[in-house]
């Protein structure tokens, strides 16, 4: 009996087949786009809906190398820097607060009694619905956008860290106490290090939402940023800029995710999440 190559419960595709099949949807979508773009451009060379690859490359080359006439900045990089720093501040603050709150709620009953109901309540508020409130109270500058990302991501991380803390076997706490640990030493030297890899995974999961909030905030009120640019050029139906920008945002998100995963594997070799 041989295991089938592709189909069925017992399939074990070999390496070549894996790579080929993994790439297949990408090739199909890109091929389909090129074909459609070609058709439309043949019909009307000024068509803006499906620009050709060469148009996109020209466009992105200009955005990535030439300073903007009005601001003197190289737009792609200044947009990227602005967006990434907002994400880093918002998601970073959400991670730090989320870990600390979730950890302490999981370890100290009194803490969880005080905070659990209000956090469960807050986490049900759609963050975009309070975006106007954030802009009014924190201004339309950086703080408002960072706060939106923070408020969008933090409840999830708190709750995930809370559950992860509860999942630490009680035996470990007892054992640490018999080894002479103080309560705070257990929280910060025994439990916290065990939460860290899970916190990284939690952050990875929440970054998708962080990008959503970032783009939304930048679309509404901003002067630079990847989301701002995409919504700005939308007015001119400038698909030759929008598509590369979307691809760039996707690539950034993908790279950050990969970076965090690699960091987790490197720093916490003892952690087994089943994700390799």
């Amino acid at each position: 009996m041989h295991a089938p190559k592709l189909l069925g419960l017992h399939a074990s595709p070999n390496r070549g087949l894996r790579i080929m099949l993994g790439l297949l949807p990408f090739i199909l979508v890109i091929g389909l786009y090129l074909w459609a773009s070609d058709l439309r451009l043949a019909d009307n060379p000024k068509d803006k809906l499906l620009p050709s690859p060469s148009q996109m490359v020209d466009n992105i080359q200009r955005l990535a190398t030439e300073p903007d006439k009005r601001s003197g900045k190289i737009l792609l990089w200044s947009d990227t820097l602005a967006s990434l720093s907002r994400i880093a501040m918002g998601a970073g603050a959400a991670a730090i607060i989320g870990i600390l709150l979730g950890l302490n709620m999981g370890m100290f009953k009194g803490f969880s009694v005080l905070f659990s109901p209000v956090i469960n309540f807050i986490s049900m508020i759609p963050p975009l619905a309070i975006l106007p409130i954030l802009f009014i109270s924190f201004g339309i500058g950086e703080l408002g956008k960072v706060m939106l990302i923070f408020i969008g991501c933090c409840p999830f991380i708190i709750r995930d860290m809370y559950l992860a803390t509860l999942a630490i076997p009680r035996q470990q706490v007892v054992k640490a106490l018999t080894l002479g640990a103080s309560p705070l030493a257990i929280v910060y030297r025994v439990v916290l290090p065990q939460l860290m890899p899970r916190a990284i995974d939690s952050l990875r999961l929440t970054l998708g939402a962080a990008w959503l909030f970032l783009i939304a905030a930048e679309a509404i009120a901003s002067t630079e940023g990847l989301g701002y640019r995409i919504f700005l050029v939308r007015r001119y139906m400038d698909m030759a800029t929008i598509l590369p920008y979307v691809a760039w945002v996707t690539l950034l998100g993908f790279s950050i995710d990969w970076l965090l995963r690699t960091l987790r594997l490197k720093l916490y070799p003892w952690y087994q999440s089943g994700d390799h």
Partner: protein, 291 residues
């Protein structure tokens, strides 16, 4: 008894809601004793252990460790659980060093290297034949090695009493026997006082210098009490000495006879001894006042 008892329970009663689990437990454990506790499932072994550990407290009665009333878990007793005894995020060596760090260093500062503590931990690892696994993480070790490391981790703190909660329950028979010999050797070398809970009768007989049988199967002169409303008592208390630590004693006639009689005393619901007939032969055993 000339020494302060390492562990002393008097008139300890524990109930969960209406259900009484433990009924007037009286127990005195002398220093250097290897005390094993067996009993049928559901008899309250784990409850008794959790109370000694300080995770739960008696409804009434007193519980003293080294002459001091027992509080929440602290270094006055060591513990080895069946699982989760090692910290998964630390290497074996760091697991062993953790006790020293937690009790000698400030938790908010990075741990400082302490060569004396490291030497001592390595020495312990050599003694438990784990020195070549010092830098491995617990998940890289077999179950038996994990338990050996956990025992070393507890012993480094020199606890007055070492509590063990079915520590070998999850191991295969060969590893289990290997660790039984191992803990007996340690007990002799280090003059430990051990309180060992197990559901395995053979293990309790082989390891213990004193065997306690906790059981709900007994009768007394109380009337109108349902079986399940009567908490478990210590129904047998044997001093055990087969004169040898070799595993071959497990095959001896004497060993098998004792297993048989303990099974009757504690594990057979149809044999209901009266409180006054309990087999309390150990010199430290508590005797119920004759009715």
């Amino acid at each position: 008894m000339t020494h302060t008892p390492k562990l002393q329970l008097s008139q300890v009663i524990k109930s969960y809601g209406d259900k009484r689990i433990l009924d007037e437990i009286n127990l005195t454990v002398a220093p250097g004793e290897f005390c094993t506790l067996v009993g049928p499932s559901g008899c309250g072994k784990s409850t008794l252990l959790r109370m000694i550990l300080g995770q739960e407290f008696p409804d009434s009665g007193s519980l003293q460790l080294d002459g001091q009333p027992a509080h929440f878990p602290d270094p006055s007793r060591g513990i080895v659980f069946q699982r989760y005894s090692l910290f998964p995020h630390l290497t074996v060596l760091d697991n062993l060093l953790l006790g020293h760090r937690l009790s000698h260093q400030n938790w908010w500062l990075p741990w400082r290297a302490n060569s004396a503590a490291t030497d001592k931990a390595m020495d312990f690892l050599r003694r438990v034949r784990m020195d070549n696994a010092a830098l491995k993480y617990p998940h890289e070790l077999s179950g038996g090695m994990q338990q050996r490391a956990a025992i070393a981790q507890s012993l480094l703190m020199k606890p007055p009493v070492l509590l063990m909660d079915e520590p070998f329950g999850a191991l295969d028979p060969d590893t289990r026997e290997e660790l039984q010999i191992f803990i007996l050797e340690l007990w002799q070398q280090e003059q430990l006082t051990i309180f060992f809970v197990t559901h395995d009768l053979e293990e309790s007989l082989y390891l213990g210098s004193r065997l306690l049988v906790l059981s709900q199967y007994y009768r007394d002169d109380r009337i109108n009490t349902e079986l399940n409303q009567k908490g478990a008592k210590i129904v047998a208390d044997h001093a055990i000495d087969f004169g040898s630590l070799s595993t071959s004693v497990k095959d001896s006639r004497e060993f098998k006879d004792l297993i048989h009689s303990v099974r009757q005393e504690g594990f057979n619901p149809r044999v209901m001894q009266h409180v006054n007939e309990f087999n309390l032969l150990h010199p430290d055993a508590f005797h119920y006042p004759a009715a």
